[in-house]
């Protein structure tokens, strides 16, 4: 909430800190993306495989 009013000021005062903070968030975003992909495309449980079967084949994820 506070961020929305002071963001621009913080960014100009400490750009390197803002970038470092951004990097952490980017890594977190990429990891979240990978975890979701692994769940849909690679999870070995039969139920996960059956629910996502046609998607796995369509993306050419290794299946069966």
């Amino acid at each position: 909430m506070i961020n929305s009013t002071v963001t621009s000021k913080v960014d100009t005062e400490a750009p390197s800190q803002a970038l470092a903070n951004n990097s952490v968030q980017m890594v977190a975003a990429a990891i979240l993306g990978m975890v979701v992909l692994m769940g849909v495309g690679f999870a070995p449980m039969d139920v996960a495989h059956n629910a996502a079967h046609d998607t796995r084949h369509s993306f050419a994820f290794p299946c069966h």
């Binding site: 980017m26 975003a29 993306g33 979701v36 629910a51 996502a52 369509s58 993306f59 050419a60």
Partner: protein, 239 residues
């Protein structure tokens, strides 16, 4: 920033996932269903050999019933996959912006989408071709490991080529070559083990169609996803 990325990715994933679902329903799923018609005949052979015990998937595991339920879960899986891809793509876009001053826009997004298509579909599919049900393939874990290796190496290869300066770009060759030096796992028997030669001919024809269908569906999906991700990242992500 993280929150606005997740919300943006959800919107992009919903749109790109629905576009994929439409192309898939028209051109990809019919081939999967047609191939499965031959797969159902197999368990009887296995059942006879193994004292009535059923095939490898087991009877117990839940699976969506054909029709609306199956399509519904496929659409959901498409959207979730699209969300995963979008989060990775957005992270790459912002890192490239912060570290290499690369602007974010819908037109740059199309290039990001093409990079995603090469990384997540084209290169892995060159080693492990898209398969229809009932096709013989190598052990699953080996193929999954090679798929991940191909994706990571290709992604690093493209990034090295685009972002590294001068002679360092040659590092891209090392990354791009790595999965091929390891080699994609191959099955002992290629093709289909169906006893009927007519059925095998039909399955081989379906397999050839499937490669084209998935190549087209994935290209439409990735260009849509990249374009939307670029547009929405510029417009909606606070950073």
């Amino acid at each position: 920033m993280f929150r606005s990325m997740v919300l943006t990715a959800l919107g992009v994933a919903l749109a790109a996932g629905l576009v994929l679902s439409a192309v898939q329903a028209l051109h990809v799923s019919p081939i999967i269903y047609a191939a499965e018609a031959f797969e159902i005949a197999e368990p009887e052979v296995v059942a006879a050999q193994t004292d009535g015990h059923s095939h490898s998937h087991g009877d117990e595991a839940w699976s969506p019933s054909d029709g609306a339920e199956r399509i519904g879960f496929t659409v959901l899986s498409n959207v979730l996959s699209a969300f995963g891809f979008t989060m990775i793509l957005l992270a790459c876009m912002f890192v490239a912006r912060d570290k290499a001053q690369l602007n974010i826009s819908w037109s740059r997004g199309v290039l990001w989408g093409l990079a995603g298509y090469l990384t997540f579909f084209v290169v892995p599919a060159l080693g492990l071709s898209p398969e229809i049900p009932s096709m013989e393939a190598a052990v699953l874990e080996g193929r999954q490991s090679w798929w991940i290796l191909a994706v990571v190496a290709t992604g690093l290869g493209i990034a090295s080529f685009v972002f590294l300066p001068g002679i360092a770009k040659t590092l891209a060759v090392v990354f791009l070559a790595a999965p091929w030096l390891v080699g994609a796992p191959q099955p002992e028997v290629h093709g289909f083990l169906h006893p009927d030669t007519q059925a095998v001919a039909t399955l081989e024809s379906l397999q050839a169609q499937f490669i084209y269908a998935t190549a087209i569906a994935n290209s439409v999906f990735w260009i849509t996803l990249g374009c939307l991700a670029g547009y929405c990242a510029k417009r909606f992500v606070k950073a």
